[in-house]
Structures are given as C-alpha cells and as structure tokens.
C-alpha cells in the first residue's frame, strides 16, 4: 500500500532496491530476480522436506510389510512342518493297511485249509477285510499324493515369502537412502539460501515484499497509462500528486542513490 509510509530504514532499503531495479534492468540479476530465486529456494526447501517425509512414510510401510512377511514366513514354515508330520502319519496308516491286508490273506489261507464248509466264515471275513483294505489303501495313497502336492506348494510359497522378505529389506534400505538424500538436499538448499542472502543482500521476506511492490508498480504503471489516455494530464496530476510525490521523493533521496550506487 503506497499511502502507508514504511519506517525510514526500510524505506531506504526499499528505495535502494527500487533504484537498483530501475538502473540494472539489463543486468543478470535484479531484485525481482532475487524474489524469484527466493521463491524457488522456498519451493526447493519445501519439496525436499516432503521427500524426506515421504521416504520416512515409505520406510514405515515397508517395515509393516516386512513384519507381515515375517509372520507369513513363520506360518508357512509351521505348515511345511505339519505337512511333514502328516506325511509320516499317512506312511504309518499305509503300513497298517498293508499289515491288515496280510491278516486278511492269512485268514483266507486258514479258511482254505479248513475247507469251504468249515472255513466259510473265515473266507468271507477275509474277502470283506481285503476289500476294505484295498479301498483304505487306495484312499491313503490319494491323500498322500494330495499332501505331497500341498507340501510342494507350501515349499514354493516359502520361497516366494523369502523373496518378499528380501525385497522388503532392500526397499527399506533404499527408503533410508532416499530419506538421507532428501535430508542432505534440504541442508544443502538451506545453505544455498544463506549464500544467496549473502550474495544478494536480501532475505526471503524482503524479496517477497519487493516482488509484491513490483507487481503493484506494474499495475500502477498500467493504470496510469490508461488514465493518461482517457483524462486531461492536469486533472490526473492534481488527483495523483498527493500519492506520487512521496514516492518520487523516496526514489530520488540521497540515501537511496548512495545505497543503489
């Protein structure tokens, strides 16, 4: 706001910057450029902080994934051990059926020795038991084969889970590296800010004020151009003199000249 006069020191600084801007339009860096540089600097600081926070969040997610994979690994390991125990159990059942089959055949032999009349009950029992033994043995073989397939799948699953765990470990290390790099980048950008402040003599707050003032000045110049085309100059001068004279004095003050020079 041009009608609010800034404190004398600030006014001198402002005048100095404005004069420098007016004098060095063709130079590489102007106060407006400083403003843009500080704006870019602020954005870089903000983004590097975002990157560091994102890296931490990724590391936290990966740690959770790793914990879940560890639990899964334990479960799969338990399932594999259980499948092994079951395979042993099925082996014992198969042995028992084989023994029972022998008992049935021996009963049939005994029945045959007694003759069909006396050994009939033994022969019938032998056939009956043998039939059940055959069915039971076949079912046990099928179950054993199915269990073997399941055990093979569990072993594959164990391999996949191990790969996931390794991947989580790698991702965790990478996330830590990204986080460290982002933190380092933020430090470097902050350091760059200090050097920028030394090089330009401005700070982020002043640069923002300069940028704002520049934008207002551009708007004022545009408005004056439009007013000059539409109204008599005398009327324009009389209306704007109370506002423009302090500004003109500010721009032509000796301190401003000295600082700008």
């Amino acid at each position: 706001m041009l009608h609010v006069m800034p404190p004398p020191t600030r006014a001198r600084t402002l005048a100095s910057l404005l004069r420098r801007s007016a004098k060095n339009k063709s130079d590489a860096a102007t106060p407006m450029d400083d403003g843009l540089a500080w704006s870019a600097h602020g954005l870089a600081v903000s983004r590097s902080r975002d990157a560091a926070e994102a890296a931490q969040a990724i590391a936290a997610h990966v740690a959770k994934q790793r914990a879940a994979a560890d639990v899964l690994h334990d479960r799969v390991h338990t399932a594999a051990a259980r499948a092994q125990e079951l395979a042993g159990g099925f082996g014992r059942v198969t042995d028992a059926f084989e023994r029972l089959g022998l008992v049935a055949l021996n009963a049939g032999l005994e029945g045959a020795r007694l003759g069909e009349a006396q050994g009939r009950s033994l022969l019938l029992m032998s056939d009956e038991v043998r039939t059940h033994v055959a069915r039971g043995g076949e079912s046990t073989r099928e179950l054993t084969a199915a269990l073997g397939d399941i055990a093979a799948d569990v072993n594959k699953l164990q391999t996949y889970v191990d790969q996931v765990r390794q991947g989580a470990t790698d991702a965790s290390q990478e996330a830590a590296r990204v986080g460290a790099a982002a933190t380092e980048a933020e430090r470097a950008i902050v350091d760059l800010g200090s050097r920028l402040e030394q090089a330009t003599g401005s700070d982020p707050a002043t640069a923002k004020l300069v940028a704002d003032a520049g934008a207002h000045a551009k708007a004022l110049a545009t408005a004056l151009g439009a007013l000059g085309a539409a109204a008599p100059p005398r009327l324009v001068m009389s209306a704007l003199r109370p506002i423009l004279e302090p500004l003109a004095r500010l721009l032509s003050s000796p301190e401003a000249d000295q600082e700008a020079g």
Binding site: L105, G111, G115
Partner: protein, 134 residues
C-alpha cells in the same frame, strides 16, 4: 497239514500272488502264511537265489528270492521243511476253481501253480546238496 480235510476235487484252496507281473498259485497245503518283511541274515558263499536265513516263529528258515519286492514273505512248507519266499505280492487267498494243470482259475483266468518242488530242488543243487536242517 496232513490232517486237513480234502477240498472237493473241483476246487483248490490257497494263495494267489504276483511276481514281476506274473501270477502264480500256491496251495494252502504248502502256503502256511504271509509275514511282513523279515530281517534277513545273509550267508557268505550261498547260492545267489538264497537270500539268507530268517528267524520266524522261533525257527530258522532259508529265504529264496522270487522277485524284487521285499514287503512280504510267503512262509511255505515242502516235505516238512519251512521255506521263505521273498519278492511276491499277495493278491488273494481262499478257495478257487481247480484247473487241470494243477493251478486254479481266478476271474476266468488260469493261474499256474508255483513249482515249489522244482524251486526246492534247484536250491538244494545250488547249495551242493547241503541240508537246511532237516
């Protein structure tokens, strides 16, 4: 076994078993029982077909190899001497229609009788006529 009642002439009781895809019959007169795989004590210098000796029901009997299977041993009797046959898989036991060849008919198929006497004689010849403890 001499006291067994004689089965009708058109029937034979015994054991049907398989050796390397071939099926044989052994009459109940000779087939005493089937036993699980025994612990065999090998005899150095014995004939290749004589696998060794086993302890069965308190007695020692020689074991002859019929085939590669090792799960079951057929304990049989020939001329009062016990003999173990290893390598067979028991299929059925009971009374079956007799076949003129000395075997039986099972499910319409003729099953020849195992030549136990010939096996016994070959074993004796291979062991230089040594006695098995008779």
């Amino acid at each position: 076994m001499d006291t067994l009642p004689a089965p009708p002439s058109d029937q034979r009781g015994g054991l049907v078993f398989e050796v390397e895809g071939r099926t044989f019959f052994l009459s109940a007169e000779h087939a005493r029982k089937l036993a699980p795989r025994p612990q065999i004590a090998r005899l150095p210098g014995a004939a290749p077909s004589l696998l060794g000796l086993v302890l069965e029901d308190g007695g020692i009997l020689p074991v002859v190899e019929l085939g590669p299977e090792r799960a079951t041993m057929i304990v049989c009797v020939h001329r009062g001497e016990q003999l173990g046959l290893l390598g067979a898989v028991g299929i059925r036991s009971g009374v079956f229609p007799a076949d003129p060849s000395g075997g039986v008919t099972v499910d319409g198929k003729v099953i020849p009788a195992l030549d136990l006497a010939g096996l016994y004689a070959r074993l004796h010849a291979a062991t230089w006529g040594a006695s098995w403890g008779g």
